[in-house]
């Protein structure tokens, strides 16, 4: 699976468009934010049926501790709770949410 996170996306000027590439915004909250070291990132991958689950696996490969939290995390896509097998589209905003503790 040709998944390539773009570490520099936030710091560089806009990159020239690459054909067949999907770019999504990825947000982390709570302990996941501390663990990954950033509240938001951008991921780019080839235009295939990449799912939220695969996106999480991509970050787990980079931050192995993340996988410990897989069972206690829910995901959202464009501010709606989303199933793990949801395929991503260009421009999506995906967030990984630990158990909520407001109130």
């Amino acid at each position: 699976m040709p998944l390539v996170p773009s570490r520099n996306a936030r710091y560089n000027s806009p990159m020239p468009p690459v054909s067949q590439t999907i770019r999504v915004k990825v947000l982390f909250f709570g302990r996941l934010k501390e663990l990954t070291g950033h509240p938001e990132d951008f991921a780019e991958f080839a235009d295939v049926a990449t799912t939220i689950e695969q996106l999480f696996a991509l970050y787990s490969a980079r931050h192995p501790e993340l996988s410990k939290y897989r069972s206690s995390v829910v995901a959202s896509r464009n501010q709606e709770f989303a199933a793990w097998d949801t395929p991503l589209r260009a421009g999506d905003e995906v967030a990984f949410l630990p158990p909520v503790s407001g109130g």
Binding site: F29, S76, Q79, A83, D85, P98, P99, G102, G103
Partner: protein, 158 residues
């Protein structure tokens, strides 16, 4: 999503919550009851003395979910107005973190709606608190929101 009455209030704030103003705001001549919920910072957690709490939110989604709860309240209960405000950032012991006020012609609906609102908020609104103690800090045990299951296979276009 159902539209909400213009005079409802749904907010995330970083300043102290003005409970008196919010409770006054939901009152109207045709109402007979206002029920409020004031959630504030406890001085201990699991028998450890708390110093203070830090709240953070996925703000755009949290507001959307709060408004969704409001729409459910109007659908399920005979109520008039809702005010629902959650504070973010650092909160000291005793400070209000969440405040909900519901007005209604009759008290039963206001009580029921207010209870449903805080219970649902605590399960579904993406807000997190970190608890600070003299000897460290932890993210509070939270609740796992009800997430959708696997997506059913899309039917091929006919």
């Amino acid at each position: 999503m159902a539209t909400l009455p213009n005079d409802d209030i749904y907010q995330l704030v970083r300043e102290p919550i003005d409970m008196t103003a919010l409770a006054r705001n939901v009152r109207a001549p045709e109402d007979g009851a206002v029920v409020t919920f004031d959630g504030f910072v406890r001085n201990q957690s699991h028998n450890r003395a708390t110093l203070y709490l830090d709240y953070e939110a996925y703000e755009s989604m949290a507001l959307a979910k709060m408004r969704e709860i409001g729409a459910q309240l109007h659908e399920k209960y005979r109520i008039h107005r809702v005010a629902m405000v959650h504070r973010l950032g650092r909160l000291q012991i005793g400070e209000t973190s969440v405040f909900i006020a519901v007005s209604a012609p009759h008290r039963a609906a206001a009580f029921d709606a207010c209870r449903f609102a805080i219970d649902t908020l605590k399960r579904t609104v993406p807000i997190w608190k970190k608890e600070y103690f003299a000897d460290g800090a932890v993210w509070a045990d939270g609740e796992l929101p009800p997430a959708p299951g696997a997506t059913p296979r899309a039917k091929p276009a006919s």
